[in-house]
């Protein structure tokens, strides 16, 4: 009887969005009288930081600092339609809608600034700090604060924009299955290292090294929180979780966190996250949806590591100590 060590690898891809149903999201952007910007949506922030990302996307597109953007979302009396936050679609779909709305608002903003500066709008650029400058002659400038005041009280212009992003529905061909199920794909490769106690069947995940390719890390801190959480969830899925421990038997389902097993803080593996960025052709600033795929590769990587450690295949999730011990007994020729 011994503690045996093994490691396993898995590589995966993951689709962004739900093209098999039609996939629209809208956004509205408008400026306040003092040059702050409101983004109005009906998308839902599940805790992943959707509002923060939409603010950064709007700010980048308009050309102002992020703290001048406020996101008002998920009120059906004010926010235009969004299909919802699922299918790794939130950042990609709503982000594209916000870009389109912000571009339209930016164009009005530049037109008002052009009138104030008596130049062509096409000769203007933003400095990202809240000012509009004449290209090549940055001493000729006007603050966005003053442009918004002018638009509201002098020029009678609404600095606002509408955004709509729709991926048309793809209908799978009946016989061949020809279809376009997604727009872009995120990628991952995970190497997991485990210890298996061949006396108790217990698995300890020592390390997980995850490489994720996500298009673009729009906010690296938010990416990190999502990827680390996902990696933890993948390990939990591999080794612990089920509402029906003896599926398809319906008995023994957990009803609280004492019975429904998940790893605690002491069970967390040493987790390494490396991010690659290959911008997607149709994503907002190249982003793809990493929200779901980051919890997938750990499951087969752990399963393969368990085999590497003790030489038994557990092809049924979750990989519980009971299943490992039964497989070890079977391997040794003993009756189950």
């Amino acid at each position: 009887m011994a503690i045996r060590r093994g490691r396993g690898v898995a590589a995966i891809n993951y689709p962004t969005g739900m093209n098999l149903g039609g996939d629209p999201t809208q956004a509205l952007v408008h400026s306040t009288p003092t040059g702050n910007f409101m983004v109005t949506l009906s998308s839902v922030d599940l805790g992943q930081g959707m509002k923060q990302i939409m603010a950064q996307i709007c700010a980048e597109t308009i050309g102002v600092p992020t703290d001048r953007v406020v996101v008002d979302t998920a009120d059906t009396d004010t926010g235009p339609h969004c299909m919802g936050t699922f299918a790794s679609r939130g950042t990609h779909r709503a982000g594209n809608a916000v870009i389109q709305a912000a571009r339209e608002a930016r164009q009005v903003m530049l037109e008002v600034a052009a009138e104030e500066l008596e130049v062509n709008a096409s000769d203007l650029e933003t400095d990202g700090q809240g000012n509009i400058l004449v290209k090549g002659a940055p001493q000729r400038s006007i603050s966005i604060f003053d442009v918004a005041l002018s638009a509201h009280f002098k020029r009678g212009r609404s600095i606002s924009g509408r955004g709509m992003f729709l991926i048309p529905r793809s209908y799978p061909e009946k016989e061949t299955g020809a279809m376009k199920p997604s727009t872009c794909y995120a990628h991952a490769c995970t190497v997991a290292e485990v210890e298996v106690d061949d006396e108790t069947g217990e698995v300890t995940v020592l390390t997980v090294k995850n490489v994720f390719e996500i298009g673009r890390a729009l906010n690296p801190k938010l990416v990190e929180q999502q990827l680390v959480g996902g990696s933890w969830m993948g390990i939990s899925h591999a080794l612990y979780e089920t509402t029906e421990p003896y599926y398809p038997n319906r008995d023994h389902g957990g009803t609280d966190f004492n019975q429904y097993l998940m790893p605690g803080p002491g069970d967390l593996a040493e987790t390494e996250i490396i991010v690659l960025e290959r911008p997607s052709a149709d994503g907002p600033y190249g982003a793809k949806g990493p929200g779901e795929m980051c919890a997938n590769p750990q499951i087969p990587a752990v399963a393969n590591a368990v085999f590497d450690a003790v030489g038994v295949r557990i092809d049924t999730l979750p990989i519980t100590p009971e299943r490992i011990l039964r497989a070890l007994k079977a391997q040794a020729g003993a009756p189950n």
Partner: protein, 455 residues
């Protein structure tokens, strides 16, 4: 976390002001100081609490329901049964024309899973609602149930859901969604090895910190405001509008701050019945799942069975792959026909294989309906595919990581569902993993690129 900017540097401009910056989240101070308002933080004078009486049986006919003692229970204001729901038989994907309507808001004549909602009780306090629930008398005639997908698909199995008429979802392509490329049998015939293996998962729970729920307030002008933690505002509003036969302009949904979703809050379960309660009583209504309901009543991730048969050559090329996937939808469709179809679009994984045959089935059994969850239609498939890849590599005596390089898809490769590959990056992820994990592979794999067939 580290960003490895050396990969794909030619495809990216890193000259942006706000994008790529690790700005602090504007909502985190509220979250960490407990000031963020979630839907359940709202408390209205006169608010009623809704509790469900649920089926104790996996499959049963309802002979009768007696609520006479319940209505007399102190604190009980209203008791709802199937006849009170204007459009009681519904299905959420009807919004994207995926039918038939196959589920009841409140059971009507039959229950098809243990935990199915039968009677809704609205009372002044949670305690009164709970006590009253125990006084509902339902006379059941227990019917044979089926829990195993293979059993459910056999001729003569008990029919789980009469709205389908058979224990699988009928796609326009027949009993399963199909993907076909090349000639898979010829591929097996010409392969050096053929390996067929079956993989199985069990249902799992989303386990959000905040359980599913909503609070509905009548606005006095014939409109109702629903404070909810749904993941999809209009999807829920539009389905509620159908179920309640109320024009959408009577409904106002407010949400957007959610304590974890993971796909568990895209079903439309709590909102319609809570709005109905508010409409019929004229009072605010709160309907919030207990942790037990969250774990055993709300949809889990489906259990899946995946059978993979591969033909592989000694040099590492996979020449044929046949996948048969079964998704256990439980008693009702919810999002499962979509999930099974999404699986068909995902197989055979991120590998270029000339001969592919995919069948994915959505199967009905007498268990808690499953639905969307993080990785919907893909997670279990990836588990099966990537364990299979490990087995194949060992079968031909090849390093598992090198084996994946040989088969990895690259830009321009035709996928099984007949879309050319764009923006591939699997190879680069594996190259970086090889370095990060100190898992050596031959130099020729480290010089490969997703851009071209090169190498």
């Amino acid at each position: 976390m580290e960003l490895r900017k050396s990969y794909f540097a030619d495809q990216r401009k890193d000259d942006l002001h706000e994008i790529g910056q690790p700005r602090p989240r504007s909502d985190s101070p509220g979250h960490v100081t407990g000031k963020t308002a979630y839907f359940a933080d709202r408390n209205f004078p006169g608010m009623l609490h809704l509790k469900m009486v649920r089926s104790p049986h996996h499959h049963a006919r309802i002979r009768s329901i007696d609520i006479s003692e319940v209505e007399k229970h102190p604190g009980v204001v209203k008791v709802l049964t199937a006849k009170d729901v204007p459009h009681n038989v519904y299905t959420i994907l009807i919004l994207i024309q995926i039918g038939p309507e196959d589920e009841t808001v409140l059971a009507d004549g039959k229950v098809r899973w243990k935990g199915e909602a039968v009677v809704a009780i609205l009372a002044e306090t949670e305690r009164a609602a709970q006590e009253a629930a125990a006084k509902v008398k339902v006379d059941y005639e227990v019917l044979p149930a089926v829990f195993d997908m293979e059993e459910a698909l056999k001729p003569g199995a008990p029919i789980v859901n009469e709205y389908h008429g058979q224990n699988y979802y009928l796609y326009d392509s027949g009993e399963c969604r199909k993907v076909r490329l090349g000639d898979v049998e010829a591929g097996f015939a010409g392969a050096d090895h053929v390996l067929e293996q079956a993989y199985q998962s069990s249902p799992i729970e989303h386990a959000p910190t905040e359980t599913t729920g909503c609070i509905v307030a009548p606005e006095g002008n014939d409109r109702f405001t629903c404070y909810t933690n749904t993941q999809a505002m209009f999807f829920t509003l539009d389905n509620a509008s159908i179920i309640l036969q109320m024009p959408g302009n009577k409904l106002h949904f407010v949400g957007g701050t959610v304590g974890g979703g993971f796909g568990g809050k895209v079903d439309v379960i709590v909102e319609p019945i809570a709005i109905l309660g508010a409409k019929l009583t004229g009072r605010p209504v709160s309907f919030i799942y207990s942790r037990e309901e969250e774990m055993q009543i709300s949809s889990p991730r489906a259990a899946e069975k995946v059978v993979i048969k591969d033909g592989v050559m000694k040099d590492g090329r996979i020449v044929a792959r046949k996948v048969t996937g079964y998704t256990d939808a439980g008693a009702y469709s919810r999002h499962s026909p979509y999930g099974a179809q999404k699986g068909a679009g995902h197989y055979p994984g991120p590998y270029t294989i000339p001969n592919v045959w995919i069948d994915t089935y959505c199967v009905y059994t007498n268990r808690t309906p499953s639905s969307a969850m993080r990785g919907f239609g893909v997670t279990i498939g990836d588990f099966a595919l990537e364990v299979q890849m490990d087995k194949l590599a060992r079968l031909i005596g090849m390093d598992p990581l090198e084996f994946r390089f040989i088969n990895a898809y690259r830009d321009g490769d035709m996928k099984a569902h007949r879309q050319p590959t764009e923006g591939a990056a699997l190879i680069e992820c594996m190259q970086e993993a090889s370095r990060a994990a100190n898992w050596p592979v031959a130099e020729k794999y480290l010089s490969m690129s997703s851009y071209t067939k090169g190498a």
